[in-house]
Assembly symmetry: C2
Homo-oligomer: 198 residues x 2
Amino acid sequence: MYSAPSIQKLLDELERLPGIGPKSAQRMAYWILNADRATAMRLSEAIAEVKDTVHFCSRCFNYAEDDLCEICASSKRDASILCVVSEPRDIPPIERTAVFSGVYHVLGGALSPMEGIGPDDLHIADLMKRLAAEPIEEVVLATNPNVEGETTAAYLARLIKPLGIKVTRLASGLPVGGDLEFADEVTLGRSLENRQVL
Amino acid sequence: MYSAPSIQKLLDELERLPGIGPKSAQRMAYWILNADRATAMRLSEAIAEVKDTVHFCSRCFNYAEDDLCEICASSKRDASILCVVSEPRDIPPIERTAVFSGVYHVLGGALSPMEGIGPDDLHIADLMKRLAAEPIEEVVLATNPNVEGETTAAYLARLIKPLGIKVTRLASGLPVGGDLEFADEVTLGRSLENRQVL
């Protein structure tokens, strides 16, 4: 169909990307074809570079370029409070809030009997080792507010509470700036149960 | 924000792509981070490869890997009918119809006084040279059915007709499978003007 096999190859590779169908892949391919060489090569090299330099932090399993990620390596973080998340991608949104200054632990997923993901498939043993070795006073369970995330949080709470460490969970409730009228009933119910004294 | 500068760099490069905002770039970046190395490198290399191997066909200005594009190099194409398009990207949709077996000429744009694009900015002189040198009996003007495309087609028709070469234009009308009810009035008007005897 395309008069250059290398264009077809590029289209095939672009279509593998999440959320990219044939039309978007075509738009991206023509953009790359029309871009000046330096711009296109920066994209090509940025892809190669993350595969060469990014691995998992040896302590918290966040993405890292060195042995420790930038958060674990920082002296400015409060090592007494640890936030547990499912994936490295959950860390940037929490950092953007500027409300949390502790450290993280990435589980690498969430418990899911449906998908056959059990405790041994997650970095839970590593978490327990950290709780024994580090001066952690509070664990914030920041797994997603869905079935797998809640299951994982409940499982971890049962494991950690007996160690005498404070265990907390992200609050559920109405999104700030949201409309009561359009809130789903589960969220609205949760925000009633968790109502705050003013 | 990201614990690895190379991830931020990848995000910046992905966001340059057309139709890709911060959220899509993030999804793509995490996909690349989670992909196995070989898959990610195929994408990286496919981008580099098109920049290294693809240039313009010396005859028709389509994308090509050799001196001539695959269509110009093919002995199976009818050299007596030439289809004029604005961009290389207009050729694959025409090829997919399997209705046209002639050759192409890519203008590299369309006339646009608004954007300061005149005849000298397009491959029009090259087209006239081809019409003088090649055994072309019909020119199909397949520029887009918008203001710039129509202007370009009218301009070329005035240039080519005096050479005694048949000049045709893509038909405008209702899309096949479309609804009369939802057709815009310009398209419906055009399909009435161009009505066919059955």
